[in-house]
Subunit: 556 residues, 2 copies
């Protein structure tokens, strides 16, 4: 506790002087005021047996970042005033990685740790960069914790003319996330993103310690996913043969994510947002491409799974199980948002099936949901749903169900009141696609469905416990920013997401409620570093402002 | 006249069937309904003597586009249904370029034609792609006209599995721009854009027949321009040594632009938007970095040229002349927007100089303007200013002055009423940076200064003669979209500008007033082509919509 207090005082008083480049901010940070620099033969070593391959890879990547980040300190002159102090500074020769809980067994890999359930995951670490010794120390209970610490270590350093240095040694960090779920959602169905774009996004996520890739992989417009036993869906429903995630691609993405501390939470949205399934299975889709689309769907094209059909229910449960069974995550999302009742009212077959079974549409939805969620539970997976499944429908959901808030941040309280675990994904804070103009034809007055643009400042101001009672707070697993891709593709993936999506990463790592003025210089530094690492994160201000903290505040 | 009428009927009836990929739309277009394809040894030749080097280069680039664009027709199946018709189609073997006015003298290069005054420039051309002959013909009065025709020719073709074809032969196009000025403005001062980014932007501009690069090169935040005799300005005022356009870079950009039919209209904004000049010449800047900035400037940092000082006036006139003298354009912009009177009221030196000369601030501004504009006229250049110089100040402007409307589209009428030539650049239609959130510090409620986002639909709906009398219409030289770079850099240059900035290109080529529903499929095609050519233009809709014209209209 004493350390914590000291830390926060230090943070407050020195951050503006040093323009720290850490993102997210560690939970506890003690710094000094001395320069040290990395020796030319600086190395990182794991000092325990049976080092997993993915930890060795992470060490190599960290070494590469230390050499190549070349992050000039964000002050006028970009560190030229530091040169003499740095030249005279003591050198740090190495970083030792220590696994606190290491026993006789070989430690689990980062991948394995990353894919454990949220409750079992341990991302904590402690990092000490001393002044009087030539070795820094990183300790953690898990390889995943060591990986998080490596990420932090790589963010401690500035470059000036080849010297890699900090001005605030000694440094002591004790760190662990406030929330177990810190996500980023990507919609790969409205427009397709090649595997290389997904991987680059996973890299960028890992640099901000985001640990969940919520992959909204299919939707009404396209089905770009190969599912074992259901290959016809992508064959007929992908935009082209080149716009498909093959079985190998999925494994590649899952591994790449896992090596970077990220679990892949896949979503196949049902029973809405599924029109394109009709391309290979017209028998399972009601109101397929019916017109006007606005009567039957939130956006074109219309078409939903025939939830009242036992055949369609079995098909959907099998499909979800087949997709989920090749994924290691403990969660899988069945969607459940924006179910359109006109579509079913208009569908002769659905009406006949409701009549035959004597069920209402809500009762049929419940049967459908029990079947699909049951299929996931048989695989040991917890179902994830959008908030309407709790707030708009009479469906029985298991208490393992995770509910994503999206319509409004105000809705979390009602979901929590029913006792469900929550992922905070509200459109009024976290939707990255808002404010980009309308996309429905040539409508001159059109605008995005969730105007205005959600700035980093807005996302950063989010209170994870907004509107919840103290008792309900434990239901919040975390949260995420989201990119719906009606107006996005590989061309603007980086620029629409970064550095904005790092805002929620810090909110849910630290726990919020935060100070944006303190954050902005660090976010600038994080953004410059992302650009140096090959992610096209955009400038948040003129460079003149980035080099002069507070000079461009609204009130200056 | 007969042709024109026939054309418009054809355009209306066939565009949706053929999903034409032309952008901007030619003024007169007659098409048939037959398939032809390019032969494997298709070639383009200029059939006149003394072909300028830059026209030969343009021919080579066109050949390369024909081979590499690989634009699949934007229909479901991406042209697979065309395959049999295309395989049986007659072949086109060549395109012949004919210079109608060719006399004994060698023709002027594209560069030279592109840099002539707006009145002297001739961009017209006619293009015939026959059915019964194996040779297409492109005629123009100038090499610049031939270049525009080559651009059109490269947009006629789709690709399916290596076959390059059209379905609408024969084709006859008579084309010329409705307005002589069709621009794109880039601010390279708030954030720096390397030469490669500027060149890629010039390529993208040329593909939409944009003919003016309005280069807002300096501003209060940075001075990235080497000016002969004034090298200290960039030495002290650029963000870094790497963030400078050297003398060679400027020539390189001017040549690259000229080869692509683009004139470079440079702007060094005065007397406002000039604070960074103080880094090397503090004697010339009033209220330098004064606080709070919001009292003294539209955005940080404060600082304006001491317009009442004869020394500063001479310095500024010399600076503008030195910058303008190395540029071939017949125009140069002295800016003149957002002059802040608090800054001068607060500046002891300015007040002393006003007292000594007995001038009001407005009278001093007039003296300053006569000096700076006079220096440009001595070089044979017409001055360009922002609208406040006409609407907010008592300044005598020559009738050669070109005035840019920016504050509101409503302001054009008042400027026209004073008899000045107009470039339509209004923020309510054409500012590409609007709607991206605020950038002043951590202001959670902040938003861009010109909310909301200006969609392509909004830009496309612009009427160039909005609010003008019939007599005033001849004053409209054209217009442009603009990118202010407070929140932009190389990372989002393409994605924030394209394909949106092609909207005004078509408005001012065709003359407006246009039909967005007809335009959208063509704009999709233009965007896919831009991506294939290496410009990261963003999707305007889900690909599902791009392949199904009208299916995603708001009213469908």
């Amino acid at each position: 506790m004493h350390i914590s207090l000291f830390c926060s005082l230090i943070v407050t008083s020195t951050l503006h002087l040093t323009a720290f480049a850490l993102w997210p901010k560690p939970r506890s940070l003690i710094t000094g005021s001395f320069a040290i620099r990395l020796s030319s033969d600086f190395y990182i070593s794991a000092v325990f047996p049976s080092v997993p391959q993915d930890l060795n890879s992470a060490i190599s990547r960290t070494q590469s970042f230390l050499q190549n980040d070349k992050l000039g300190r964000l002050v006028v002159g970009r560190g030229s005033s530091d040169a003499s102090a740095v030249r005279a500074a003591p050198e740090l020769n190495s970083l030792a990685l220590i696994l606190s809980s290491n026993g006789f067994d070989a430690p689990d890999s980062i991948i394995k740790e990353s894919q454990k359930s949220l409750k079992e995951r341990d991302e904590s670490y402690s990092l000490t960069v001393p002044l009087g010794s030539s070795q820094a120390t990183l300790r953690a209970n898990t390889t995943l914790g060591l990986f998080r610490g490596l990420t932090t270590f790589s963010q401690l350093w500035y470059d000036y003319e080849g010297d890699t240095y900090t001005l605030v040694a000694p440094i002591k960090i004790e760190d662990s996330p406030a929330f177990p779920y810190r996500g980023f959602m990507l919609d790969t169905a409205r427009n397709f993103f090649p595997v290389s774009d997904v991987k680059r996004t996973l890299d960028a996520m890992s640099w901000a310690k985001i640990n969940t890739f919520h992959w909204h992989v299919t939707d009404s417009q396209s089905f770009p996913l190969q599912v074992p036993g259901f290959l016809e869906l992508s064959q007929a429903g992908a935009y082209s043969n080149n716009s498909v995630y093959s079985l190998d691609d999925v494994q590649d993405i899952v591994s790449y994510a896992g090596e970077r501390g990220i679990d892949v939470l896949m979503e196949i949205d049902t029973p809405g947002h599924s029109s394109i399934i009709a391309a290979s299975h017209p028998e399972h889709i009601a109101c397929f491409e019916e017109s006007p689309w606005s009567t039957f769907a939130g956006e074109p094209p219309a078409g939903q799974l025939r939830l009242a059909s036992s055949s369609t229910t079995n098909f959907t449960a099998s499909l979800l199980a087949a997709a989920a069974s090749v994924l290691p995550s403990s969660m899988f999302s069945t969607g459940g948002d924006e179910i359109n009742t006109n579509c079913y009212a208009d569908d002769t077959q659905t009406q006949a099936e409701l009549n035959a079974t004597g069920r209402t549409l809500e009762q049929a939805l419940n049967v459908f949901t029990q079947a699909t969620h049951g299929a996931l539970r048989q695989l040991g997976k917890a179902p994830v749903v959008w908030e309407e499944m709790v707030l708009e429908h009479n469906v029985t959901l298991g208490n393992d169900t995770v509910v994503m808030i999206w319509i409004s941040s105000q809705d979390a309280a009602a979901v929590a009141a029913k006792g469900f675990q929550i992922v905070q994904s509200p459109s009024d804070y976290f939707y990255l696609d808002c404010g980009g103009g309308g996309w429905l034809g040539d409508d001159v007055l059109g605008n995005s469905s969730c105007d205005p643009f959600k700035s980093w400042q807005k996302a950063y101001s989010f209170d994870p416990f907004n509107n919840l009672t103290i008792e309900q707070r434990s239901l919040v697993l975390g949260g995420q920013q989201l990119l719906w891709a009606e107006q996005s593709g590989p061309e603007n993936l980086d620029s629409i997401a970064w550095p904005r999506a790092a805002a929620s990463a810090e909110v849910f790592w630290t726990g919020g409620t935060l100070n944006g003025t303190e954050a902005l210089p660090r976010l600038h530094a994080h953004r410059f570093r992302m650009v140096n690492r090959g992610v096209r994160a955009i400038p948040l201000q003129p460079e003149w402002c980035a080099l002069r903290p507070d000079a461009c505040d609204a009130t200056s």
